[in-house]
Symmetry: C2
């Protein structure tokens, strides 16, 4: 498999997008984010998305030329219309404006609507935490999870992300997709003709299934079962209800070039760690240290940092098939 440097991988993605009705600004931002996901080992949000994104931009399912429209609605309330463009420029616009608002108000929130696939939800909050803020992001995604007891996918896999700064270390990053396993695991089982474990997914009638094909036609089981379903509802209400975005069941797929734009939403909340006067960052460090003292435990996100360092050093292995697919577009 060819190995590309981070810069070459970014160029590959950006050039592919620019050939598919995407502005250079947007193409660079998207390329940066897909490569960052790939470098962190989060391949589901990485380079494999490039051909789909490009195909969507080509037909206008995502508007590659869009500029997010940012409006300050209250001292701590930002509204970002992603204008059916990529989510990344909209999230970046929110993340650029929120720190000053959070310094003034203590807390500030951006509602992002008419948006798209948010990618690695942990990345924007991680960067805000690296700048000294505590950040939370809730994002909704197309239909994946049914209300507990139901069969229709009314909620997405709806990630929750959180990050806070540490005194002398990279931020603590929490990034949780709410399905028990990623849908990719079921796709893989189907391709191999293998059954899936009970508890991963439901068929289209809402019954437990071990049949990968039936699972793909049905819904994903959230982690924590009934309790996780309630979290998925909460994220749907915050990321789509409050923001004015499409709910999961109204959103078209992130994974093909058919249909109207997904129009999903994100809610980004930023808190100034110093607003409440306690030495919060020192205290975050104290808890991190207690966890570090546990023999077999570690902070979430550590593996990402290891992967990231390795990718910066050794570059990224990129399949010839993907390079060819990008070239074809």
């Amino acid at each position: 498999m060819p190995t590309l440097s981070i810069a070459d991988a970014q160029a590959l993605v950006a050039q592919t997008l620019m050939r598919c009705r995407t502005s250079e600004t947007n193409a660079r931002i998207v390329a940066h984010e897909l490569v960052a996901a790939e470098a962190d080992g989060l391949k589901g949000h990485g380079l494999s998305r490039a051909p789909t994104y490009a195909a969507q931009a080509k037909v206008g399912k995502v508007d590659g030329m869009a500029t997010p429209h940012v409006e300050t609605r209250r001292a701590g309330a930002l509204l970002v219309d992603a204008a059916h463009g990529f989510a990344y420029p909209a999230i970046a616009a929110a993340a650029a404006a929120l720190p000053d608002m959070a310094r003034q108000c203590g807390v500030a929130a951006a509602a992002i609507r008419r948006s798209h696939h948010c990618g690695v939800a942990g990345h924007p909050v991680e960067r805000l935490a690296a700048a000294g803020f505590v950040a939370l992001m809730f994002a909704n995604t197309p239909a994946a999870i049914a209300p507990w007891g139901g069969s229709r996918g009314l909620f997405g896999t709806n990630p929750i992300a959180f990050a806070c700064p540490l005194p002398d270390a990279p931020p603590i990053v929490v990034d949780l997709s709410l399905s028990k396993v990623a849908r990719g695991n079921i796709l893989m089982a189907q391709q191999k003709g293998e059954p899936i474990p009970t508890g991963w997914a439901l068929d289209s009638a809402g019954r437990e299934t071990t049949d990968a094909r039936a699972a793909l036609a049905g819904t994903m089981v959230p982690f924590g079962d009934a309790k996780g379903t309630v979290l998925a509802l909460m994220v749907e209400l915050l990321a789509a209800g409050l923001t004015g975005a499409n709910f999961a069941s109204e959103a078209s797929s992130f994974l093909d070039a058919q249909g109207p734009p997904p129009g999903t939403g994100q809610l980004l909340i930023v808190l100034d760690a110093s607003a409440w006067g306690a030495d919060a960052i020192t205290r975050f460090g104290a808890l991190a240290q207690m966890i570090g003292q546990e023999a077999n435990a570690r902070l979430p996100g550590v593996r990402r940092l290891e992967n990231r360092a390795k990718a910066a050093r050794d570059g990224l292995a990129v399949s010839e098939a993907l390079i060819a697919e990008c070239a074809k577009l």
Copy 2:
């Protein structure tokens, strides 16, 4: 079992507390909350707490005479020092001040420190939602959950609560304790000499156990296992790290009258549903309606409302043992 009206149950609790170095104001607030929990069928946070609270007030583990000290730190940042009193008056003070701040800023947050058992985390957010706001609460509790792979209880069962208004119905309320099951279930198994199912708890060495006694000496498993543990970490960082409260492992028990005050914390975030301009409440209603159309699904919190209506109509069954215990204090 004797049946008390809501008012008589409140009087029983308030009078018990007032005999145990608690001010009338605080006693009334606490009584209201314990009875509200009992009425909702949430007995773990209900009348059974009254004797423990009173015993703690008697020895000063909770300061029944305390008045929460409220300080506006930024336009959207409120600091509440619960002053080692009950959590309820501190949370009530926060909930009283936040709506105006949220109207102004779009979002506002109260950090509550030197606090105590928050009771039903869903209640304060439900009331804020009934007034038209979207609210989130994160609370930490004494040591219960270990970091994934570890054995020491560094996180509490740390509830997450959320509520949002609906157009013509009571708010949607999410209220999730992060342990897979309540500790009470393990206590009950121990009393009956029965084993507990695998996956509920770990022993003090961090190994899975079916022995109730070993489980009580160990830690609780969170819902969603590894992912749930990460949520517990997030809540610990928000509710204690950011607020300047004690972490779970630093907090004394809510359940006995030994040791110093628990000093736990709560973070309450209030968002003005109208700040982002979308008709958020109508959209919340649209999702609620979709869930209502699913044959076997229902919104979380519905059983609470049914119990509440029944209690208002029929009163509360209160054991003679509890009444006697209150009388003794």
